[in-house]
């Protein structure tokens, strides 16, 4: 069996599961973000009274942190009331950060577990060898009542990544190049196992960035075999004992792809689709209005460090903006301790509260018609960050930083020539 299958089997009390089988699996942790007050409504409509386990449910206020409107402030209050009524052990209010980063830091994510969240990017937790998947409000409400959810055991495909990327090429470039090949619907319903020499040595942040965007290919979940960096991270933080699940040697993947990244260029997903991916040298320089570094894809310490190194001692030109939003309070503190935030402020960046920021067009840097944004986030759909008349380019944090510095889309490798 594959590790993903073993996780599902164990959680549903079975010795074995097969592709296509529907199982009822126990959920180890359930997270609801602040777009999903409907979860509380659905919970009550179904007759729910108390959540099944107060240690295994949390709200994270990230999409509207801090509340930009009266309506979103009201949503927060109704959720706070529910959290208090249920005496939830964990509650992550507007001072926390993006749910996927916060959960990992707080140790509620660990290898071998099942995490379900009301957010499509829950595939991120494959980075830890966990089964993570996103659901809507009503599926989540059924979990809050029963502690379980039905799953179809997915087909599992292998994406093997081999090689060492050149300077200026980052995990975000790697996943964009994969997305450009497999396409936005290439892994619908499937589990993606990222393997290969690149993944084996990759740090936690890079693994999270790659698994995060598995959902942009339609994947149900992602998996990476935990390496020592992951095991060290989890050992320090996990709130309960865990058991790593490994794939059997004789497991046969439904499909296998191999990506050699020694010669990979920095990549861009150009408007208006996540799979419209091009090597940066093939794209004409495009004038930009705003850069954005942040989110569950590109807002970790390593991402902000890359931007700070490029922008330290430089000035972002007038009429070009850079919004930087650390993915969590912990990320922000570390970036302050290391001087990254100060360097970015001095270069002219705007720093905002840890959270999702403008990624989904809610606040803190939405785009006007005709504007162009280059972003370290995950989606460039029409209207994603505000006006449908704006254009969004997805790139690595380094590409965003060097592009903002020049005022037009720029290859970060030009820094090293």
């Amino acid at each position: 069996m594959h590790a993903i299958e073993k996780i599902l089997a164990k959680a549903s009390g079975k010795d074995k599961v097969v592709t296509g089988e529907i199982v009822n699996a126990k959920v180890d942790f359930a997270e609801i973000n602040d777009l999903y007050l409907q979860t509380v409504y659905s919970f009550r409509e179904m007759g729910g009274e108390k959540v099944w386990d107060k240690d295994r449910v949390a709200f994270v206020f990230d999409h509207y942190a801090p509340a930009p409107t009266i309506q979103s402030a009201t949503i927060h209050n109704e959720m706070r009331e529910f959290a208090q009524e249920n005496d939830l052990t964990y509650h992550f209010d507007i001072n926390s950060g993006v749910c996927h980063q916060v959960m990992a830091e707080q140790g509620v994510i660990y290898p071998g577990m099942i995490v379900v969240a009301t957010d499509s990017h829950t595939t991120t937790h494959g980075a830890f060898g966990a089964f993570g998947t996103g659901v809507g409000a009503t599926d989540m409400a059924t979990i809050l009542i029963s502690g379980e959810l039905w799953f179809r055991v997915p087909e599992i495909i292998e994406v093997r990544i081999e090689g060492i990327p050149a300077k200026g090429v980052y995990p975000k470039d790697v996943i964009l190049s994969i997305l450009g090949k497999i396409k936005a619907d290439g892994a619908v319903y499937k589990g993606i196992d990222f393997t290969g020499s690149y993944v084996e040595q990759l740090d936690v942040a890079g693994r999270m960035a790659i698994c995060n965007m598995a959902v942009e290919m339609g994947a149900k979940t992602a998996y990476m075999k935990p390496n020592q960096k992951v095991l060290d991270y989890a050992a320090k933080r996990a709130v309960r004992p865990f058991e790593v699940q490994y794939t059997d040697d004789d497991f046969v993947y439904a499909e296998s792809y191999v990506f050699e990244i020694n010669d990979l260029s920095p990549q861009l997903a150009v408007p208006h689709s996540v799979d419209n991916v091009r090597p940066i040298e093939t794209v004409q320089p495009v004038k930009i209005n705003q850069g954005f570094i942040g989110t569950c894809t590109g807002g970790r310490v390593e991402d902000i460090a890359a931007a700070a190194e490029i922008l330290k001692g430089k000035k972002i030109p007038q009429y070009v903006r850079l919004v930087v939003i650390p993915a969590s309070k912990e990320v922000m503190r570390e970036c302050m301790d290391k001087g990254y935030i100060q360097a970015l402020i001095d270069a002219g960046a705007t720093i905002s509260t840890p959270g999702c920021g403008p990624c989904l067009g809610a606040h803190e840097g939405v785009l006007a018609p005709g504007e162009v944004c280059i972003t370290a986030s995950n989606r460039n759909f029409p209207g994603r960050m505000g006006s449908t008349g704006a254009e969004i380019y997805l790139a690595s944090p380094a590409t965003v930083a060097v592009s903002v510095l020049n005022g037009y889309i720029t290859d970060p490798r030009t820094l090293y020539k």
Partner: protein
């Protein structure tokens, strides 16, 4: 569950994501009717005001990709869509729609075979679609057993209430 439907179509393209079905700037709304009034605003804000209850949404591949927001099927239902036919659907959107009682039918190639404004007769149990204007019959996939059970209960909420022994 109503298994035969007839309605006028609106045909959309490939990879219509949930931001186009329901733009992020409206996510703080909670009133279902109000949510319905912004349905597909990311494609064209004129779609919802001109949508007749019972009309059918037809789309290309990967309909509903992107965010897990349940507002997307809530918007479609409250705009008056009776069902969605598409070449293929994204996973979370599929679950959310079935959970709320909105039938989704996978019908490969339909977005190329049907034009906006044509009327369709759909038999959900048989998995067939008849284009009224041309008489052409399209064979589609039948809805799976598990999803059918949920739809027959009127969605997952009534199903769960029944399971918990609560009155409707």
């Amino acid at each position: 569950m109503k298994t035969k439907m007839i309605g006028k179509t609106i045909v959309l393209g490939d990879n219509i994501d949930t931001d186009q079905i329901y733009p992020g700037r409206f996510l703080e709304l909670v009133d279902p009717k109000e949510i319905g009034s912004h349905c597909l605003a990311g494609v064209d804000p004129e779609i919802a005001p001109n949508f007749e209850p019972g009309d059918i949404v037809v789309a290309g591949t990967n309909f509903g990709c992107g965010s897990s927001r349940e507002h997307a099927p809530i918007a479609l239902i409250n705009m008056g869509a009776s069902l969605v036919l598409a070449d293929s659907f994204a996973r979370i959107f599929f679950r959310n729609s079935i959970n709320l009682g909105l039938p989704l039918i996978i019908c490969k190639g339909i977005s190329q075979k049907v034009k906006s404004g044509q009327s369709l007769e759909v038999d959900i149990q048989e998995g067939t679609v008849k284009v009224v204007e041309t008489g052409e019959i399209l064979e589609c996939e039948k809805i799976g057993e598990h999803a059918t059970k949920i739809l027959e209960s009127g969605g997952i909420k009534p199903m769960f209430r029944a399971k918990m022994g609560k009155s409707q």
